[in-house]
């Protein structure tokens, strides 16, 4: 009814206008198909990102579904087994997961303390001149392709570890060298995110601490660091997520086969399953190696990759969401 009324009024106005002197311009809102099309296109561009996510979830989900539906696959074994050998239809995910955890933990051991210390140094100690030198260096490190880090791990870090710990202890392919190099790889990320968090702490807080007679160290550790904690922990979690998803370093240097055990008992003997100096393929490394070869679609080998991929996706997604929540919930607002 209302619409009709409006229409009638509009027609009236129109008539009145036509009867009076012809206006110099037509002030009616013109229908512009071009604008609409363009807006539609731009909207479609935005939707592509949604489609990407949907595509990822659908692709991983569908192929994983095909994998788990297969009669040969035991879903309980998948989540509890420590033997991954597709050739004899044994799909226990743990050898791959443990290798991923080992390399990621090694990476964290390198990147977190170093990255945080560098961030504190840059934000609290360094003179502008030093910052001008160090920051580009870190940017260069961040821009180096991961395959180069893989090369570095294999041809530099592994021989170095062999020299330190002995050739019979450290295998040519090992989790430790891959982990350490991933640590170097994510170091710039940890540093720059942590430094941003530290720099966001207001100057007044520092000055108050100095005014009370605190040393630089006390100010940095007891005032600035706690204030920036949410940003720093977000940086740490993003870094862990990067380390878990990192592929080329582990594909080149960590080993070309899962470190399998017949039972958890064997695996836990001398904690052999956690030995960082032995070769052991990670989740990402396995996906790259298997898909790099000739792989026919629809086989168990093929679908199993997607099951691993799904797990990997969920792990990194969980970590990223966690970091976002941390930032949102524990952010300290300063004026």
């Amino acid at each position: 009814m209302q619409g009709e009324l409006k229409m009638v009024r509009a027609q009236q106005v129109q008539k009145e206008l036509e009867q009076s002197a012809p206006p110099p311009f037509n002030l009616k809102r013109r229908y512009r198909p071009g604008e609409t099309i363009i807006q539609g296109f731009l909207f479609a561009c935005g939707v592509i990102s949604i489609l990407t996510t949907v595509g990822i979830i659908f692709v991983l989900g569908e192929e994983s579904w095909l994998f788990f539906r297969n009669a040969e696959v035991n879903i309980v074994e998948f989540f509890t087994g420590i033997l991954w050998q597709p050739a004899i239809l044994r799909f226990g995910i743990w050898p791959l997961v443990i290798a991923t955890l080992t390399t990621s933990i090694m990476a964290m051991l390198v990147a977190l303390p170093l990255g945080l210390m560098i961030a504190i140094y840059l934000s609290e100690y360094a003179s502008p001149r030093i910052r001008k030198v160090v920051k580009p260096v870190l940017e260069v490190l961040a821009g180096v392709p991961t395959v180069v880090y893989g090369y570095f791990a294999l041809t530099f870090m592994t021989p170095l570890l062999q020299q330190i710990f002995g050739k019979n202890v450290v295998e040519v392919y090992n989790n430790a060298s891959a982990g350490i190099v991933i640590g170097i790889l994510i170091l710039p990320l940890v540093t720059s995110m942590s430094e941003d968090a530290l720099a966001a702490v207001p100057q007044a807080l520092r000055q108050a601490a100095y005014g009370l007679g605190a040393t630089k160290l006390e100010t940095a550790m007891r005032i600035v660091l706690p204030a920036a904690l949410s940003g720093i922990s977000a940086a740490f979690i993003i870094a862990i997520s990067r380390a878990v998803g990192e592929t080329m370093v582990v594909a080149i240097a960590a080993g070309a086969g899962p470190r399998n055990f017949n039972s958890w008992g064997d695996a836990m003997t001398d904690l052999a399953v956690f030995n960082p100096f032995k070769a052991g393929e990670t989740m990402t490394g396995h996906i790259v190696r298997i898909s790099g070869g000739d792989l026919s679609y629809g086989t168990l080998d093929y679908t199993s990759l997607f099951a691993i991929g799904l797990l990997l996706f969920l792990m990194t997604l969980g970590l990223n969401l966690l970091s976002r929540i941390l930032v949102a919930r524990f952010r300290e607002e300063y004026e």
Binding site: L42, I48, P113, M117, T146, L187, S291
Partner: protein, 704 residues
Amino acid sequence: MAQQTNLPTSPYPEGAMLKRFVTKRMGRATLWSNLFMLATLVGIIALVALLYNILNSAFGFVALQNKIDPTALVLQVEEEQLLAAPKVVASEDDEELAAGIAADPNAIGFFGYAYYQAHADQLKLLSVEGVMPTAATVEDSTYPLARPLFIYSTEKSLQTKPQVAEFIDFYLANVTNEITAVGYFPASSALLAAGAARLQEVMANTNESERSDTIVTTGSSTVYPLTMRMGEQFAAAGFTGAVTGESVGTKAGFAQLCARGSEVDIMNASRAITRVEIEACRKAKVRPVELRVGSDAVAMVVSRENAFLQGVTLEQLRQIFTTASKWSDVNPDWPDQPIARFVPGIDSGTLDFFVETTVGRQLADLPKETLMTILTANVSKGLIRRLENDRPFAERTQEEVYQLVVARVIESQIVKSWSLRDSLLRRAEIEAEVAQIPNGELIFRNWLTADFVTSPQSSEPLQAGVRTALLGSLWVILITMLFALPVGVGAAVYLEEYAGTNWFNRLIETNINNLAGVPSIIYGMLGLVVFVRLLEPLTSGKLWGVADPTTANGRTVLSAGLTLGLLIMPVIIINAREAIRAVPSSLRQASYALGATQWQTVWHHVLPTALPGILTGAILAISRAIGETAPLVVIGASTFIVMDPDSPFAKFTTLPIQIYQWTSRPQAEFRNLAAAAIVVLMVLLLTLNASAVILRNRYSIKEV
């Protein structure tokens, strides 16, 4: 600590305690500040180590094993050319040469010094580089055309085989009488006496064992006739056994002598042992004993009637025997008469020696025609025809023909390669190791040459290059850019300029942030299923009828580009949004006030202002895409192709993939190739990043 608990009740430290307290606090502060600095230093060291490690492998020594020794090849062709020149008389008979030279005032020739002495009355001896051959100048090699002659034995042979010691004793005592007959220059009695003394010294610890009948000799072809002659004399003097001899050349002779468990008793040498060979001997626990037996000197002679020549330089000699045809060509002061050349025959060691010292050039320095001669002489006619069909030889440069000779005739194979650090610090060891390789050659190789960038992939590390991979990378990046840039910027414009704050737009926003954190390999799996499999007709080009019949599957440049496009899209969107947000809204309002539509405002005002920021973000995203490896492995980059990619539907490989493959191979030389490819990749990335920095700087200037 115990003291502290006994402190008075005041909560603050006082007196000496205060001082200690303050010192401790300051100490801790300094310690940590140093630790922080140290951490930063570790970060910088990591980068330095990374770069060092790459450069360390991109350059270094390489041991090559040649099918044919290039020096022998040069020598052969030079000798042939020398003999083929007009007015050359070659003869194995030195009498004939001497007579010929004596008769013609425009003749020049050379032969062993001994023969000159026999005909000194008819011939005039020339000085070379101002030095006349005399007993003294020949013995200390100041005369350029002289070389010492040695025999080498081992302490073990001398001490355990009495017949060897006796033979050498006999050799040193009688060689002066025989050497002129073979054509060489005798050693001074002082040198011979020194040799005899060395022999006695070694013989002091003789370790007598049963007597055997053979004496094994090997080595230089120059000394060979002398040693065999001495062997005959020794037999004539009553030796019942046999002196066996082989003429393999000095270099090979040393390799035999210095091999572990060597059976060689006497090694003939036309030069002294080198440091490298001594090192090799030391490793094989062989102690060589050096004995000088004489000298080889080539006498340059002209006729007694020749008035204009007193001496020549080596350069003049080279011209006289190769390029010049008249004397005046070499020196305008000399007569305008054709040069008559008299040289010993091709089988003579003297000719070899002369060519080596005067004409001898490196293979790479030979003119194109000469290289062509070598090539045609050593490869099949069919291959020549094929090469001619590929590209006429007339069009090829000397450098290219040289490469062909190296690849087809010499057929170098890499035996081993060393890093730059080893090459600099362990040179002696490396040289000794290479000396053990028959026909081995040690070259310092720069793996990163122009050839490396322009040649296609090859299974032969010496010929392998990155052209296919580099072009593949560029193709993939082109597609990535064409896809991700418009779509990414479009999404950013939508989110910043059009989108309201409803749930759907918030979802898009959160979603983009989450996508930025998805591991790249997951994108690879998405690309594999969607672009390679589902959209195969599209990405393989079947739908357009341009499918490459050799592949006809979806593992193409197009699939790779689209996959990487999805991968970098979030980065482009996030950066572009920031750039668009930085455009002041007064600009938009001014545009609207003038009656522009929303799109007109965006297109004519917002985008141009935000462009530098958008491009900076895009370039950073592109450089990430260039370095990406994992998703491309998953969607199936080709492992080995030599064809350049020429369309979006071509099979492809990219630089990072190439690096990954070379790194994964066990042989060290492929690691060298990987290092060189990394340098190419890094240069590409640095160029891109530098342009991003320039853009950013220009942008910030504009803003002020």
